[in-house]
């Protein structure tokens, strides 16, 4: 077991015993990832913040319920909780699953980058984000988990509640669809340019 996994297991045990500081460390480890995961499912940053907050509060409540079940996989628990909360959000408020592309106001503070590099990267991000938002939710989700959060297929399969094989196929298909979407957009741009 590597140090990071061991540390997370330890944090999980402490948090399940009601240690709020341990849960604070879990928050530090996961907040960016969970926020990002939610951000790609909703249409704006504010909603992503609200739902992300709910994920951590509910996860704590779940871990510390009187008749709690033992949690063995923190990663899966947090992402699954995020998925359920987003589903609830759309169900209760009867909102439509996002379709719009909110321009990104992010690219936080990378001081080492030159201004031009930053602009170029920001534009790349907006570009890829726009294409990702055109995909089906399950494709977008699996690509984020795999390539942005860099989770293993095994970890992803636990979060999505699918077999390893099915997860692998899903990633492959998602990549292909993304590629087609990008190609299609390039073709239509070049046609318009002619």
């Amino acid at each position: 077991m590597n140090a990071s996994i061991f540390k997370q297991k330890l944090l999980l045990v402490r948090a399940q015993n009601g240690d709020s500081e341990a849960f604070g460390e879990i928050y530090d480890l996961y907040v960016d990832k969970i926020y990002r995961f939610i951000f790609f499912k909703v249409s704006n940053h504010e909603t992503a913040e609200d739902l992300c907050a709910e994920v951590f509060l509910k996860t704590w409540q779940y871990m510390n319920e009187p008749d709690k079940r033992e949690v063995s996989n923190l990663n899966a628990l947090l992402y699954q909780s995020a998925r359920n909360i987003v589903i609830d959000y759309y169900r209760t408020s009867q909102r439509e699953i996002l379709a719009d592309t909110e321009s990104l106001k992010l690219v936080e503070d990378s001081r080492q980058q030159s201004f031009l590099e930053k602009v170029a990267i920001s534009s790349e991000i907006e570009n890829i984000e726009a294409h990702l938002r055109k995909l089906k939710d399950e494709f977008r989700e699996v690509l984020i988990l795999k390539f942005v959060d860099e989770l293993s297929n095994k970890e992803i399969s636990k979060i999505l509640d699918k077999s390893n094989g099915a997860t692998r196929v899903l990633i492959h298909r998602a990549l292909k669809v993304l590629k087609d979407t990008i190609d299609e957009s390039k073709n239509s741009q070049s046609k318009n340019g002619q």
Binding site: Y27, E124, I125, L178
Partner: protein
């Protein structure tokens, strides 16, 4: 380019998305709130008294005091003593203040950690009321800051509070008596909010007024729809023989009738208004006969008609404004292109005037001749 390289390039681009992060101030403030809230649940956890435990606690405390004094005070005073300057300052903060984000975060956390929908709904109602108060205070204390962004922010939050309230009401145990009081409170909040907004919208610059007005109408409509949901649930409870007192039901329905009557008074005459007025009269009669369900239906009919009329009247105003704007634009364009033409026209007018003067002088000559003829004729007769 090979397929593999192409895919790798695409994957590299996707990886850039890991730069998407939450705002740092949100991340930090929510962390503090999270820790403070869950610390209250720490009954089960008794850390061992050891050097490590002591060190860890001290380090944590130092971290709070050195790096996050606001939070330390909030934690120590706010949560364990019950009140603090920071909590108070945050509580009284207004949009644009440093502590306003903390106030909003505290509100969200309060709702998140409560499971009972009735309490959640009550809190949301309180927060919606906070938005109304904030708007009022801003108008009195800092009218210069009451710009489009501020009003939009307050309006958006009010709408969001009311939407959440609606969700909680729909999830509420339908038997609860509180639906009744909530329905009445939402009504009064919606009216209050509309009044406060109307009172303060004159302070906005003209170019943003329209946009803000739309957002305001939207927020007030959301509140009214929420009130409608609560009203239906409450009435349904009563029909099913729940413990509601009849006076309360009548009072609630009467307040709905009064609202409708007020709206009808503010609108211009027309066929739709007559229909709405009829629905209102029918509702009053049904209420007098004790037919509450029928009254509710007739009130709803009246409200739908009123909304339809408001939409139509607004559209007519929009069209009128658009036409008038277009005319202004056309006039401006014509001013430039018709300068030469207008000079010609003015020459033509001068010529016309000369002709008119000449005609007038001819006419007076004729009149004079006629008078002379008449005098001559009279002389001959004599």
């Amino acid at each position: 380019m090979s397929q593999k390289t192409h895919n790798q390039k695409m994957v590299n681009k996707i990886k850039l998305l890991n730069q998407i992060q939450p705002r740092k101030e949100w991340k930090d403030s929510f962390r503090d709130i999270l820790i403070s809230e869950i610390s209250q649940d720490q009954r089960a956890y008794q850390p061992a008294t050891s050097f490590f435990g002591f060190f860890s606690a001290t380090a944590q405390a130092a971290k709070f005091h050195v790096f996050q004094p606001t939070v330390a005070i909030l934690l120590v005073l706010g949560l364990f003593v019950g009140s603090s300057l920071v909590v108070n300052a945050a509580f009284y903060s207004l949009p644009g203040d440093n502590l306003y984000d903390l106030k909003i975060a505290m509100e969200k956390t309060q709702v998140s950690i409560i499971r009972d929908n009735e309490k959640k709904a009550e809190l949301r109602m309180e927060f919606a009321k906070n938005r109304v108060d904030e708007l009022d205070k801003m108008a009195i204390l800092r009218p210069e800051d009451l710009q489009k962004d501020t009003i939009s922010e307050i309006t958006k939050r009010f709408k969001s509070d009311v939407e959440s309230l609606n969700d909680h009401i729909n999830n509420l145990d339908q038997q609860k008596k509180s639906v009744f009081s909530l329905a009445r409170a939402i009504d009064s909040q919606a009216t209050e909010f509309a009044k406060t907004l109307n009172k303060n919208k004159d302070k906005l610059p003209d170019n943003v007024k329209k946009e803000v007005e739309k957002a305001m109408d939207d927020a007030v409509n959301t509140a009214e729809n929420t009130s409608e949901s609560a009203f239906r649930i409450a009435l349904n409870n009563y029909s099913q023989g729940e413990t509601q007192e009849e006076e309360e039901v009548i009072e609630l329905i009467q307040s709905k009738i009064n609202n409708l009557e007020q709206k009808i008074k503010e609108l211009e005459d027309g066929e739709i208004l007559e229909a709405a007025q009829k629905a209102l009269d029918d509702a009053k009669n049904s209420l007098a006969n004790g037919e509450f369900d029928l009254t509710a239906v007739q009130i709803a009919q009246g409200q739908t008609l009123v909304e339809q009329l408001i939409t139509e009247q607004n559209q007519a105003i929009d069209e009128e404004e658009a036409t008038s704007n277009q005319e202004d634009v056309n006039l401006e364009e014509n001013d430039d292109t018709n300068t030469e033409e207008s000079e010609e026209v003015s020459d033509f007018n001068v010529e016309n005037k000369v002709e008119q003067v000449s005609i007038q002088s001819n006419t007076s000559t004729i009149n004079a001749t006629q008078e002379t003829l008449l005098e001559t004729t009279e002389d001959i007769i004599e």
